[in-house]
Assembly symmetry: C2
Homo-oligomer: 187 residues x 2
DNA sequence: TCAATCGTGTACCGATTGGTACAGGAAGTT
DNA sequence: AACTTCCTGTACCAATCGGTACACGATTGA
């Protein structure tokens, strides 16, 4: 049979997109096979644990991407306010202005939440923690910083829900603009 | 065979809970049968359209409940600021302080979004519209009112995502308290 | 009392699910 | 050239999916 020498890493992107579009339960193996162009044999070769292992791998890759592109800059940037601004830009691009679903958020509301509870919690905990630290360094009062960070991270997730339900991507950008304005350092 | 004379309306509550817990795809007919205590024969007697008709009925009932308990009070209350406060209390109770999922929001992120697009859009559009009207009557500047309403409704949805992912219901109440504070009439 | 209607459970349908088994070809090693 | 490892597609599995058919019992009205 033909051999294409696929790398496991190359599968993560189409896998993620399939899970985003159809959810965990809805992403059937035949859909996954179509998206990756691989048969079941190859899929089970790379992911012996089946669908669950595929989803775990995707979640790990997402967390890694956010760690490098969002969380670490928030924690370490020299100008924390600029880092917060960059976060909004990065997130807007990542979610395609509200047209793309957050897989972590979608899984959190779904049936599969319990199965991936640890990964889901870690993703949001890291985000809130990093953002709260940046807000404090930018001059926000420390005691309210975590609550404010939760509000912003939650607000982004809610904006995705709203934009998708209303089928109006501009609502996403508008809500994010409001969140950004309010995250500026207070006078 | 035994006849229990079930009413169609009595089925909506267990149906809604099943869809909330397992999503649309995940709510199998056997789960639904167990939750309602009815066999397939009875279910298809009340809902000839099958699962899709059950979900439509549940969404219609949810919209009706929110119309009476949330949307109309926002539109018609004599004290609009008190109506906004009441909305936060009603919503907190309805979502069991973040332990209960918003079915409309969850469906919006799921595979089933396209199928129920009209109902999902209407629910959120009604909510944003009613809230924006209340904010204006409470003294908020009219040009930013819809954006602010979107931010609040989205914020509630995001708080549900966050509380569920973090498995920390108090995060829901904390975010809602912040939203409430910011929805007060400006000086 | 008899017939019609309404609810109901069970059996069944084809299709699809996630997962396994395996044969076999391509590439690399010796 | 023989051998091994890796990757691949196909065939197959039991289980479950949403949905249909239908027969039976209870209720109701005449």
């Amino acid at each position: 049979m033909a051999r294409t020498v696929t790398e496991r890493g190359d599968l993560l992107a189409p896998l993620a997109e399939t899970f985003r579009e159809h959810g965990y339960e809805g992403a059937s193996l035949s859909l996954i096979a179509k998206a990756t162009g691989l048969g079941k044999g190859s899929l089970y070769h790379f992911f012996p644990g089946g669908k669950a292992e595929m989803a775990e791998a995707v979640l790990a890759e997402i967390e890694g991407w956010f760690e490098g592109a969002v969380f670490r800059p928030l924690r370490e940037a020299q100008d924390p306010d600029a880092a917060v601004a960059a976060m909004f830009e990065t997130v807007t691009a990542y979610f395609r202005s509200g047209r793309r679903v957050c897989l972590v958020g979608a899984l959190s509301l779904s049936d599969a939440r319990d199965r991936f509870a640890a990964a889901l919690r870690r993703y949001f905990a890291l985000w809130v923690e990093a953002l709260a630290a940046a807000l404090v360094r930018a001059g926000h009062p420390p005691d309210g910083a975590e609550a404010r960070a939760e509000e912003i991270v939650g607000g982004i997730q809610g904006a995705l829900v709203l934009a998708r339900a209303l089928d109006r991507p501009e609502a996403f950008e508008r809500v994010l603009a409001g969140l950004r304005a309010r995250s500026r350092a207070p006078a």
